[in-house]
């Protein structure tokens, strides 16, 4: 049976992880390769590296970093942040990335999804969607890290992304992100029913039960989190043995 995936997400600035990582032996601003390798060893199923560098030079550093990640880490990883053209994606593919995630650039230019899927295959293209709950079934898709609302709505945009060739959807609820009260399970379950590609849930993980809920009520294929892993609030081995005990199929 296919295992539910646990995915730590690392934010990268100028080639280093940010957000005050507090692992013993790793500096507060540390080497993403070292941290990624540690997560892989602990049983992470995939990794996501998000480049939050704005400068052109920083982007070059990121491509070099992606190559180092590919050389040292033996599980699949996705890279995202600032990818707006085919050539950005190609540089990351050539550096060894397994998947890329596109977010604001896909909202501004949906054809980018088709172009990426056609050139590199759907398995390479993760469409990340940040959305804010409005009312009822209505979720407003936002860009620029949740700062700018758009005309797009979550469910129709996710469906469109699938039809254009996305291989996976990474949905972050801006209402749940950082609050640690659990994932947006109702919306996730609807996405999972509406779409036939895998859904990665992001935003809201605060304890182990939240992961159980996202895989049962939320019907997500994967759960992504950052700070709870970085701050060692939840250890990946503990989380996986908990989920296993709760009857959820995970890779141990």
């Amino acid at each position: 049976m296919l295992a539910k995936r646990i995915i730590p997400c690392l934010d990268i600035k100028n080639g280093m992880t940010v957000k005050g990582i507090k692992f013993v032996g790793i500096k507060e601003v540390g080497d993403p390769v070292e941290l990624g390798a540690l997560y892989a060893e602990q049983g992470a199923d995939e990794l996501v590296f998000l480049d939050i560098t704005a400068s052109h030079e920083g982007r070059k550093t990121f491509v070099e970093l992606v190559q180092r990640i590919a050389q040292h880490i033996n599980i699949p990883f996705t890279v995202g942040g600032g990818i707006s053209e085919l050539k950005d994606a190609e540089a990351l593919l050539n550096a060894g990335a397994d998947k890329i995630s596109i977010n604001s650039s896909a909202v501004r230019n949906p054809q980018l999804i088709n172009d990426m899927a056609k050139n590199f295959g759907s398995q390479f293209v993760v469409v990340a969607i940040d959305a804010k709950h409005f009312e009822g079934d209505e979720w407003i898709v936002t860009v620029n890290g949740g700062r700018i609302p758009t005309e797009k709505r979550l469910f129709s945009w996710a469906k469109e992304a699938e039809e254009r060739g996305a291989g996976e959807i990474l949905f972050t609820s801006m209402d749940h992100d950082g609050v640690k009260q659990g994932f947006a399970n109702e919306a996730l379950a609807k996405l999972s029913t509406d779409l036939s590609i895998p859904i990665i849930a992001s935003g809201g993980a605060g304890n182990m039960e939240h992961f159980k809920d996202v895989f049962t009520y939320g019907q997500a294929d994967a759960g992504l989190a950052a700070s709870i892993f970085h701050y060692k609030e939840i250890g990946i081995p503990d989380l996986k043995s908990y989920l296993n005990k709760e009857g959820i199929n995970v890779r141990i």
């Binding site: 049976m1 040292h72 295959g121």
Partner: protein, 199 residues
Amino acid sequence: MKIAIIKYNAGNIRSVSFALDRLGVEHVITADPEEIRSADKVIFPGVGEASSTMKYLKENKLDELILGLKQPVLGICLGMQLMCSHSEEGDVKCLGIFDEKVKKFELPSPNSENIKVPHMGWNALVNVNSALFDASLEKEYVYFVHSYYVALGEHTAATTNYILPYSSALHKDNFYATQFHPEKSGDVGSRILENFIKL
């Protein structure tokens, strides 16, 4: 020991190369027929679409080259599918090393468990039975990404369950193949690559 990774228009060649680097195994990425023929082992990786890749192999005479190899050969993912007789992806005749055919996963109807295609993520190997696998690999998880599958047949070397039980590995004579990506399957994947290298 020299390993040749066949260079062609596929996506994940460098990932395989990086995995061999991690194992400290000398290798070349090459399209040179002599270099491939003289290698101790050959890896035929692959991420991409079947019919266009098959066309590329023919145009570059890599099809005849692969068929004529006598040393151990390992096909990975699309590499494995192209070693079968036919693929539904682009309705294309493939290399025919294995008699098995490649079919598209069909979603169950009704799809009450929200099963997705592609089959993406970690799934278990069962009934492992070739030199690629030692007994310790039974029920271990490996990483898959694919929308087409090879049915169970006489050359099945490992089985995985997704929608139905299918061939997650094949073996016939000197030809070995895995539907999953050993180069992305953590320590379990490394053990499988090591088993291939030790053949």
